[in-house]
């Protein structure tokens, strides 16, 4: 069981910013009272905030009558749901079989060195969150990582680090 996922990244972002829970109204409107809507509601919430904030659970409970315990049970069961905020870019490193055989572990280690965070954590500057996933479906390009919607294949440590560095640089120049 993925118990380890629960609390591990609580520490990386210190102060949780309050969220605007009214953003959820249309979502709740759409699914309220429909059967089997728990997962779509949680998915929708996560799409809004990047994670499922505590307040969102409370709002869902009071507006739809779903039980918090049930929602929490579901949210911690599936790999997709996050309970703490994420960085601007989510790096999804594939640790599927094909990527494992092609030595993705070494690539991840280099990324961990570069970003100075562990799996599931977010960098200080809030730019990157590192997540390992099982298979992105591009196995013939292994090792593979996905940043946002973009997939990068045939990686090695150097290439992966360069991609991150380039993104950082762009981020800095666009700010100035």
């Amino acid at each position: 069981m993925r118990v380890a996922r629960l609390h591990k990244n609580g520490s990386s972002v210190k102060v949780l910013k309050p969220v605007d829970i009214s953003l959820m109204d249309p979502l709740i409107e759409k699914y309220k009272g429909k059967k089997g809507s728990l997962i779509p509601l949680l998915q929708g919430t996560q799409n809004l905030y990047g994670y499922i904030p505590r307040e969102a659970f409370q709002k869902l409970a009071s507006d739809t009558g779903l039980k918090i315990s049930e929602m929490y049970g579901v949210a911690t069961f599936y790999a997709q749901f996050r309970l703490s905020p994420v960085g601007k870019n989510i790096i999804r490193m594939c640790h599927g079989t094909a990527c494992h055989v092609q030595n993705v572990t070494a690539v991840t280690e280099d990324l961990i060195d570069e970003l100075k965070i562990k799996d599931g954590e977010t960098t200080e500057d809030g730019l990157f969150t590192l997540e390992t996933v099982a298979c992105l479906g591009c196995c013939s390009l292994a090792p593979v990582m996905m940043i946002g919607e973009e997939t990068h294949g045939k990686l090695d440590g150097k290439k992966a680090v360069k991609i991150i560095k380039d993104m950082r640089r762009k981020e800095v120049t666009s700010k100035n």
């Binding site: 079989t97 094909a98 298979c135 013939s140 390009l141 294949g153």
Partner: protein, 592 residues
Amino acid sequence: MENTKIIVGLGSCGLAAGAGKVYDEFKRIKEADNLVFELKKTSCIGMCYNEPLVEVIDETGSYLYGKVDVKMADEIIDKHLNKFSPIKEFIVSSDQFETKDGTFLNGQVRIALRDCGYIDPESIEEYEARQGYEAIKKILNEKIKDTDVIQIVMDSGLRGRGGAGFSTGMKWKFCNNYKAPNKYIICNADEGDPGAFMDRSLLEGDPHAVLEGMIIGAYAIGATEGIIYCRAEYPLAIKRLNIALDQARKKGYLGENIFGIEGWNFDIRIKEGAGAFVCGEETALMASIEGERGMPRKRPPFPAESGLWKSPSNINNVESFSNIPWIINNGPAAYAQYGTEKSKGTKVFALTGKIKNGGLVEVPMGISIKDIVYKLGGGIIDDKKFKAVQLGGPSGGCIPEYLSDTMIDYDSVVATGAIMGSGGMVVMDETTCMVDIARFFLDFTQKESCGKCTFCRIGTKRMLEILTRITEGEGKVGDIEMLEELASQIRDASLCGLGNSAPNPVLTTIKYFRDEYEAHIRDKKCPALCCKKLLTYTVIPDKCTGCVVCKRACPANAIDGDKKVVHFIHQELCTKCGACYSKCKFEAIQLN
């Protein structure tokens, strides 16, 4: 040039390899130079090792260019289109002359993948131009009864392509037997096997084939609603499915009174999976659609009687569905001509790992593993020694090289201890450590166990601990026996397929590579030089330039040496992290 088509492969893999830029470049040139060729999109043809792929079709024939980049795109326009001279050295396959890579496609029998890489998946017209939706129309025009459709599918010998290999026709028959106001037909597109991407490619490349298969299934069992349960990790597949659904609705193939038949209401919706391997299990998948934790339920009652929302339900896999229209159009005998006595037809495999031609292949059942690896796959990368293939993912096992004459058929594969699975075939060479692979899979199943059955929840954890210990050089005599004992208990005492099959990767590696386990445990050595903690790192004096990079990288300060002086690693300080090895630019660190 009016009759020339340029078709760019824009599947996920192609896009990852840069096909998007290539497409844009063709578009730019076309507009800038006012050229009249037709620019089109398609999905993955399966030759992933040659992505991005661009096909040029002109009056003389078809030419498939591989590994195309922006520069090559310019060249193709310049030489092939303007000067009518195809650039032979870039062409990987053509109907005009033999190519080295031609065998990759010619060795296949493409039924499920019949349209992948040939049509624009976002165009229903192109699907219809290749017999699309003709199967369902044939059924309706010829008034073939539901039970006869089921009989055709049974006669074809099609068995579930998701892994277990249960007869698809039989499954439909069971479900057809139960009458209820609501009945569901579900497509399992929650491809969970890490290292397999058949379903993704099919959904991205030919979504209408899956929809048509589902409509036929709905007709056969009397389903009132269809649901595609698709991994959220496949955004492109979901996007193309949505486009296909809209097109089918507009044409009256989905919705109310479909195909002009009064009272036949049937629609399909997509349900995004939230990421749980156990949802590959039918009952868990249905629990997940109902919005609960995806935990398996006890059977009986079987889903055919009481499944989703307690209504009769039928689940098939993506590949099974996409075979159906072809079977109806061409007849069951045409399908059953391929394969072996008990496994008919073809199977799609995702060929990955240490293989030269990695990609998607569809082969007739009965072909040997060796033929897939060498004839289609082109052999092992860098011509290293072929060690094993892993079939069936976390529920499957490793088949060693000396059994590579094994036929691809459900029963022969099971006889080796592996399972056919959904079609992931990961090729391993001499540098892959089998103990590490077993540990890798156990790590996966241990995390994915839903926690319902004690043996699966705790047993896998204990197995993982033992395997981790062995790969770290802490293995003890008796560990192998302990693993075997745990394996048999987990297998017997778990409710669902995940637990039943979780020990397979360990059992098969023990069976075929016991000496490797023993080397780890007794000699504290990893023969494949893979398990870091069992290696010793030394400097090769002839190659060391004295650049201090490794010295700086070493977190344990175990490396001595000044600039331009050959370095030295103190074994008693070394923590075997491998940092020196990966940082050295001169290959001066040796592993033993």
